[in-house]
Amino acid sequence: MIEAILAIVVAASIYAILARDLLHGVIALSVTSVLSASIFFLASAPDVAITEAAVGAGLSTIIFVWAIRNTERTDRS
């Protein structure tokens, strides 16, 4: 179970790095956070799971999306 989730986490992280569309990258990052939170929960660390879900999937996504809105959406490099 945990191995399968970890594999998806790695895949989503690689996609977040390589994505040309930055919004897609941010969504992949928040998927990573949600899955990490479920791993923490499965490892019986609910305190860390709540933090990861609230900060990683919630707040940092909002801040990233705001930054993309105010700059530009595609990676030019």
């Binding site: 609910p46 305190d47 799971a49 709540i50 933090t51 609230a54 900060v55 919630g58 707040l59 909002i62 801040i63 705001w66 809105r69 105010n70 490099s77």
Partner: protein, 254 residues
């Protein structure tokens, strides 16, 4: 272009091997994990702090000064971000309380309506629960504060799009000014509680009040300082993060 890619690949490889060099000895060594601190806290944590959630017992009981330092780090980070956002042209200033008018904005959809009008109060309630019951159930000030901030952000998003639903306008008055006042008061509370002896004084006060009221507040007195710290940290984190996000959202409407 090619050189840049090569350079970033080399940097990534160097970082990965550095991380491996640090982590591999930890994972591969056959020395036993240190257990002295773990066993002590597992045995005495409840008696020493009164918190059944041992994570709270550690970070607000045994290591409360670490938590104070963390709170200050967060305060500095938030102050820097808020200063950056506020100095960007076209941003609202701190004195303006409240967002744009309640007309239906271009971003108004049913989804926004549901999130802002119906989900936000539930999220605020859940955040309050996580904040208040950190000593017995998973959670605490930091987690509850961030959940509270999400609720305030939902309301701010709804107000931007003009979809507050049936929430009364007084509840949606989470303007930057109100939030910064709440943050200042909460941080002052946390600072006051960190003075030597103030935790014991608070516990004694709760015990005396309970005794005079004829209520045997069993266990509450001992855990009182942890609950108070949770509330202070929760309000401080919640209002600080919400302040940052509300200011960022408020600067967008042209």
């Amino acid at each position: 272009m090619r050189r840049g890619k090569l350079l970033s690949a080399a940097t990534g490889l160097a970082a990965a091997s550095l991380a491996l060099a640090v982590l591999a000895p930890v994972v591969m060594s056959d020395v036993d994990w240190p257990t002295a601190a773990r066993d002590t806290i597992a045995a005495d944590g409840y008696a020493a702090t009164g918190a059944t959630n041992l994570v709270s017992a550690i970070y607000l009981g045994y290591r409360a000064f670490d938590t104070l330092g963390e709170t200050i780090v967060l305060l500095v980070a938030l102050a820097g971000s808020v200063a950056l956002v506020a100095s960007t042209p076209g941003r609202p200033d701190l004195d303006r309380d409240g967002g744009p008018a309640d007309s239906r904005g271009p971003g108004h959809t049913d989804i926004i309506n549901v999130i802002a009008g119906k989900l936000a109060p539930i999220v605020l309630l859940f955040g309050t629960y996580v904040m208040l019951y950190g000593h017995t159930s998973p959670g605490g000030g930091f987690q509850g504060g961030v959940v509270l901030a999400s609720g305030v952000i939902f309301i701010a998003i709804g107000r931007r799009a003009g979809g507050i639903g049936r929430i009364s306008p007084s509840i949606t008055a989470f303007g930057p000014r109100t939030l910064s006042v709440i943050e200042a008061i909460a941080f002052a509370t946390v600072l006051a509680l960190s003075f030597p002896g103030s935790g014991a004084a608070l516990a004694g006060l709760i015990e005396a009040t309970g005794a005079s009221a004829g209520v045997a507040a069993k266990g509450v007195a001992a855990v009182g300082p942890i609950i108070a710290l949770n509330i202070g940290i929760g309000l401080k984190v919640g209002s600080g993060v919400a302040l940052l996000c509300v200011m960022m959202l408020g600067g967008d409407q042209e």
